[in-house]
Amino acid sequence: MKGKWLDETFRAFAFFSTLIGILVLCLLLADVLKDGLPRLSWKFITSFPSRRAEEAGILPALVGSAMLLVLTALFAFPVGVAAGIYLEEYAPDNPFTRFIELNIANLAGVPSIIYGLLGLEIFVRAMRGITGGRSILSGALTMALLVLPVIIVSAREAIRAVPKSIREAGYALGATKWQVVRDQVLPVAMPGILTGTILALSRAIGETAPLITIGALTYIAFLPPLSLKALHSPFTVLPIQIFNWVSRPQEAFHANAAAAIIVLLLLLLSMNAAAIYLRNRFQQRLE
């Protein structure tokens, strides 16, 4: 009798705990939608920021976020996957390898502002000649460092999940390690690696602190040129734009911030949807 009562109580407690998470999310969404939806329009997306709230838009921030995302992926994905392959397939099991593994796990937990300080010192100052200082290239390289541990870890997990029997089949045919990894292991692991990469990038797209540290601007009234010089141009991103608007006293700017948050959320949700889609395809293939 008593056991049943306890059981019921715990069930109710667990249910309300779940409800809190969902309720807070719904409240947040409702609040943002109420403030932001009326402000959201094509003009809002295609306009530059302005002193007058009703004329201001998010174009440079959106372009900056998109460019940063693509560049970050371009740097972090090949390095992360290669490191994952090395650690999972080639690295001998010795203290040095274990030291590296431990540190990669630790790096994934380092506060992002530390990466900002690192980026400021290395990319903005020491490598100024290559990166052009406080440029989008510096930002992307910093972000690449930030997401690299997560990509390495997820690449390793995806590679490890490939059944041993597939590797054995490859070796038994007289394939070299590289041939087995390239033709059999990577294609099977790729959806898992992509899922991890997208989730890592969706973390990067919401990051503000490291970019402010390396000197992203808050007011940009132009788009980067359509050439390689774009890499050296100053930049801003959506979260910084949002932060800037929220910190202003005028109500109208707060509506702008809410509208920008909606755009950022849509971007994040579509990235997560892509990750879930890939993961489902991955599971089907293994069955």
């Binding site: 059944p163 054995e168 089949a169 038994a172 045919l173 007289g174 394939a175 059999q184």
Partner: protein, 270 residues
């Protein structure tokens, strides 16, 4: 008990045989634990040799020594020699990938690549930069594995849609495509139903005309049905796998020299 049953339906054998693989004083360790002790065994060319024994006695370990698949297991170590066409395959100058091409392997559980049927068979040739007619080789390998008629209309569909028995024959076709001399099979039918098992056994009998076949099995009847030669491996008192006896299957089953063999094939083994 067994003597009252029909004798193994194996063709009469020439008593003289030509060994293609010679195993000499082979011992194997995984880490500290010794798995096999002092194995001496010949594998006759173009015959089926069955390696028989209770589960876990080291049969699989033994055939994995023949194409150096044990190299992939961390901590595995061997002593002794395995001579393939009179060359020690553990000599430093041996190219392992070429060795594994010439000594193919089929595993206990069918393990086709998650790709099309065609790609499964073609891959072993592709990685060697094969320049000839790939379609032809794929067709021939699938025919040899008695799978062609069942898959010729769906060569480019996923191999994972095939039944277990078909997958295992695909794995045999995949191994045959790279033109091996020896085919090692590690309990190839243990995951299959009786009809699929029978098909595999018939196939192996056909293949033995052109290939040397080594099959590991813990199924006494299977060894009796298909093999020309049988080797029996069992644990000694230290849990190390030892060769108890080997010879023509007919002799092993009708006139076992070792009492343990007799107990094993009559099912009295614990």
């Amino acid at each position: 008990m067994f003597r009252n049953q029909t004798l193994p339906p194996v063709d009469p054998l020439p008593e003289a045989y030509e060994p293609i693989v010679k195993i000499r004083n082979l011992s194997v360790w995984y880490g500290e634990r010794q798995i096999l002790g002092d194995i001496n065994l010949d594998i006759p060319r173009n015959r089926i040799t069955a390696i028989m024994g209770p589960s876990g006695c080291g049969k699989s370990t033994l055939i994995r020594c023949l194409n150096r698949m044990n190299d992939l297991i961390p901590g595995a170590r061997i002593e002794g020699q395995v001579l393939f066409n009179d060359q020690n395959i553990y000599a430093p100058e041996v190219d392992v990938t070429e060795l594994r091409r010439r000594i193919g392997m089929v595993f206990q559980k069918p393990n086709p690549f998650p790709k099309s049927i065609y790609e499964n068979v073609a891959w072993g040739l592709r990685i060697r930069g094969f320049k000839g007619n790939l379609d032809e080789v794929v067709e021939r390998a699938l025919m040899q594995a008695a799978l062609w008629d069942e898959v010729k209309d769906k060569l480019h569909t996923s191999a994972l849609n095939l039944s277990g028995g078909q997958q295992q024959r695909l794995c045999i076709a995949r191994a045959l495509a790279v033109d091996p001399e020896v085919l090692l099979l590690d309990e190839p039918a243990s995951a299959l139903d009786p009809i699929a098992t029978l098909k595999i056994e018939e196939l192996l009998r056909e293949l033995s005309e052109n290939y040397t076949i080594v099959i590991v099995t813990h199924n006494v009847q299977q060894a009796a049905r298909i093999s020309h030669y049988t080797a029996v491996i069992m644990w000694d008192e230290n849990r190390i796998g030892r060769l108890v006896e080997w010879g023509p299957t007919r002799d092993i089953f009708t006139n076992p020299k070792d009492k343990r063999t007799e107990e094993y094939i009559t099912g009295r083994f614990g």
